[in-house]
Symmetry: C2
Subunit: 411 residues, 2 copies
DNA sequence: CAATGTTAGTTCTGAAATTAATTAACGTTA
DNA sequence: TAACGTTAATTAATTTCAGAACTAACATTG
C-alpha cells in the first residue's frame, strides 16, 4: 500500500500461498471496514467481501482469536433474529498520536475506535534544533507512564507535523535538523520507542480525517484549506489522500501571487504564504498596531508579539473594523489561491479547516467572491464550500487513520 | 469503474452470484493486462490474478471461446518447454477513434492491439455549429464503408476533443451547441451509430496514452503539457487519469497570470491561455508581422492569417531570431504555469506533448528556467522533464485505451 | 400462548479451486 | 541419440468455499 513504514523499507511480502494471500487480503478489508464503520454484521461483511456468510464467519472467528475484533452484542431491530455486531477490539492496539506544531505539541493515546484515552498538551514548539526530538521522546515516555499503558498495549506511533515530508524516506525537509544524522526522523524515533512510527504532514492528516469522519465523508474529490505557519492545501483524489511523488503535493503556499511581494522563507518572492499565512498576518498586524493603527488590538501596543491569529479573530468577533478588514483581505487572497487549485483539481467539496474555522464569518464571503472571479463558472456548479464539523480533531483522526491503514496494509 | 458510459447511466450490475462476480472480475483483469502487455503466459496471469494455473487455464479457455483472446503461439526461450502466449484477438473488436480538433478531424479504426487498420483525415473543424455532429456522422459512415468493416466487427467509438467535458453527462460544455437538444453528445452519437460512444477530453486522452504506452509508463504521478487552442494539462494520479469531480481537472489555461492582461474567451482577464496558447501566439505574431516586424515570417505579410503555430516553429528552426524569441518567451510563461502545477501535484515526470514537441529546442530551456525560479527546489530532485516519444499518436492510443478500459469494466 | 412471519447463523453438500503429482515439450550434453 | 535438466501444462488429490437446507432467535398476531 502507501509508503512511510518506518521499519521495513523494501521488505518483500513473504512468499505465501494463494489461499493465505486471499485470506489476509480479506482480513485486511474487514479490519479497514470495521475501523471506519464502527460495527458491522456478518451479512454486511459478506457482501462487502463478496464471500459467503460461512466463510466470513470463520474469518471473523480468527480475528477474534487474535484479539483484533470483538463481538459487540446484538443489534437492535424490528423483527427477526437480531444479528450480532462485530467491531474492533478497543481494549487492545492503542496508538499514540503526536501532534506537533509551531505553537505546542500534543500527545494523545487513542483506542481502535478513535476515543482519546489520554491527552497531554506539552509546551514544546516545533523548531529546527536537533534537541527537539530527544525532548519529544522523553515527553513521550512520561506520557506513556502517566497513561498507565504497557509496552504491548501500544502498537504504533503517528506523528503529524508541518513541513515538506519526504514520504519514502520519512524525513522532514523543512525542518532538516530533526533528521538525526542521516537516519530518517521516523526511523530514529522508532528505534527510541521500539514501535513503528508513521510520519505525516499535518495538512494531509487533517484532510484524511475530514475524508473519513468529517464533512468530506464519501466524497471522492476534496480540497481542504488550512492556515497555520503557512497555507496548507489538503487533497483527496479518488477518495484517497494525494501525496504526490515525494509526498509534497499541495504546496499552495509557495505559488507566486505577487511578483513585487516580500521574500518568503523558502527563498522565492511573493509566495501566497507571504501575504496570507498566519505568520504573515501576525507580522502585518503587529506592524500596523505599532505604527498607530486604530483598533481594539491597540491594547497590545506595548507588547505586539502577543498578537496572534487568535487575537486577530477575537477582535474581529468584537466588531473591530480593522481586524475585519484584514480578514476580508486574507480571505480574498486565499480565494484567489484556491481558485487556482479548483481549476486544477475540480473538487466537489472544499472544507475550511483549522484556525480559520472561527473566522469563517469574515473570510467565507470574500473567499467565494474571489473564487467566482477567478474560476470558470462550470467548476462552481457541482462544488460546495463547507466548514469543518470536527472541532479541531480532524488532524488527530487523520493521523490515527493513517497509522491504522498502514498497519492493516501489513496484515 | 469510471464514468461516461454513453448508454447506461446508473444501471446496477445484475444481482449475480459471488462466483460469477469473481470470475468476471478476473476475466476483466486478464483482458486489461493483455491489452497493455500484448501477450502473456498462463503462469504470468496466474501470479497476476493470485490464482492457480488450472484456474487461469479454464478462465482463458472461456475467453478464447468468446473470441476475446487468442493463442499467439509458443514463446521463444532458452531451455525447458516453451509456454504458449496468449493475447487479445486482433481479428475482432475493432474500435473507432475520432480525433476532433479545431484544425481537422481524423477517423481511425484500430484493432485490439492498437494497430491502425484504417485512417481518414477529413476536413472538418470543430466549431460551435450544431451541424458539426451530423457531418461527423456521415463522414463516419463513409469511413466505415471505405474500411470495409462490418457492423459487428466494430464494438465502440471513442471521441477525443478539446473543451470542458462533463464526464457524467458526456457533454462538451465549451462547445455547447454540439449537445443536440438536451441529449448528451455521446448519447446522440451513440443512437446514430448504434454503438457505445465514449467521450474524452483530448489532453486527458494524450496523457493516458503516454501513461500506458509512452514515456510515463509505470510512473504514478505524471503531468503532460500540451499546447493547442488552449493550454492543456494532462494529469495522472496514482497511475490513473485524473478527471476531477465533473471531468474538468487540469484547466491550467484559465489561471490568471496577468491581472492587466487581455480578455480571455472564457470571460476572465489575463488567463495563461491569453499569453501562450497556440491561438494567442498566432494572433500576436500576425499582429507583429503586420506592423512590420523583421522576420522570415514577413513573407506572409500580405496573408498573415496563414501564419500558424507550425509556421512559427518552422521559422525558428530556420534560425529566425524573432520566432525564437517568441518561443522562448512562451516557454517561460508555460514554465511559470507548470511551476504552479508542480507545487500542487509533485509529479515524478513531466511530458511535453503535442505540437510543442517540435519546438522543444526553443522552449525547454526557458521552461526549466521558470520552473527553477518558481518551484521549491525539493520538488525538482525526483522530477524529470521529457519529450514525448510517441510521434503524435499518444492521443489516439489514449482514446483507444479509454474505450477499452471502459468496455473491460463492463465485462 | 401457540402459530406464524422474519431475519440470523450453522450445518451440510456439491462445486470449484488450490496444491501436488504427473506428463509433455524442449535443449543440452554425455 | 539417449539421458538429463528445465520449464509448461495437464491430470489427480485435497482443500476450501459457495449455496442450500436447516436451526435459532426474535416479534407479532390471532
Amino acid at each position: 500500500m502507501p509508503f512511510s513504514d518506518s521499519l521495513l523499507e523494501d521488505e518483500l511480502p513473504a512468499q505465501q500461498s494463494v489461499v493465505d494471500y486471499k485470506k489476509s487480503q480479506k482480513q485486511r478489508k474487514v479490519l479497514a471496514h470495521l475501523y471506519v464503520n464502527g460495527t458491522c454484521t456478518l451479512a454486511n461483511l459478506a457482501t462487502l467481501l463478496h464471500s459467503s456468510v460461512p466463510s466470513v464467519t470463520s474469518l471473523v472467528d480468527e480475528l477474534i482469536q487474535t484479539e483484533w475484533v470483538a463481538s459487540m452484542g446484538p443489534a437492535i431491530g424490528n423483527n427477526g433474529r437480531r444479528p450480532v455486531l462485530f467491531g474492533l477490539n478497543t481494549k487492545r492496539n492503542f496508538v499514540a498520536v503526536i501532534d506537533v506544531s509551531i505553537h505546542d505539541t500534543k500527545i494523545l493515546f487513542m483506542d481502535t475506535q478513535r476515543h482519546i484515552v489520554f491527552r497531554d498538551d506539552i509546551d514544546l514548539q516545533l523548531n529546527n534544533h536537533s534537541s527537539f526530538l530527544s525532548s519529544l521522546v522523553s515527553y513521550f515516555n512520561t506520557a506513556l507512564l502517566k497513561a498507565g499503558l504497557s509496552e504491548d498495549e501500544l502498537i504504533a506511533v503517528g506523528i503529524s507535523m508541518p513541513g515538506l515530508i519526504d514520504a519514502r524516506r520519512a524525513r522532514n525537509l523543512t525542518y532538516k535538523q530533526l533528521n538525526q544524522t542521516e537516519e530518517s526522523l521516523a526511523r530514529w524515533f522508532s528505534a527510541e520507542t521500539n514501535k513503528p512510527v508513521y510520519l505525516i504532514n499535518d495538512t494531509k492528516a487533517t484532510v484524511l480525517g475530514e475524508s473519513r469522519f468529517g464533512g468530506a465523508q464519501g466524497k471522492k474529490q476534496v480540497l481542504s484549506i488550512n492556515i497555520d505557519w503557512g497555507i496548507g492545501l489538503g487533497i483527496i483524489v479518488n477518495g484517497e489522500v494525494f501525496h504526490g511523488a515525494s509526498g509534497f503535493a499541495g504546496e499552495l503556499g509557495h505559488i507566486q501571487v505577487d511578483p513585487d511581494g516580500e521574500l518568503c522563507h523558502c527563498g522565492k518572492i511573493g509566495c501566497l504564504n507571504t501575504c496570507t499565512s498566519a505568520a504573515a498576518l501576525e507580522q502585518r498586524v503587529q506592524r500596523d498596531i505599532l505604527s498607530g493603527q486604530v483598533s481594539k488590538l491597540a491594547i497590545f501596543k506595548d507588547s505586539v508579539d502577543q498578537i496572534g491569529i487568535t487575537e486577530l479573530i477575537d477582535a474581529a468577533h468584537q466588531g473591530d473594523s480593522y481586524a475585519i478588514d484584514i480578514l476580508h483581505e486574507a480571505g480574498y487572497l486565499l480565494g484567489k489561491g484556491l481558485a487556482i487549485a479548483i481549476n486544477l483539481f475540480n473538487p466537489e467539496i472544499i472544507i475550511i479547516d483549522g484556525v480559520l474555522t472561527s473566522a469563517a464569518n469574515f473570510i467565507l464571503s470574500t473567499i467565494e467572491q474571489a473564487i467566482s472571479k477567478y474560476c470558470l463558472s462550470d467548476f462552481r456548479n457541482d462544488m460546495t464550500i463547507e466548514l469543518t464539523q470536527l472541532n479541531g480533531s480532524a488532524k488527530w483522526l487523520g493521523t490515527h487513520t493513517y497509522v491504522m491503514e498502514n498497519i492493516f496494509a501489513n496484515h
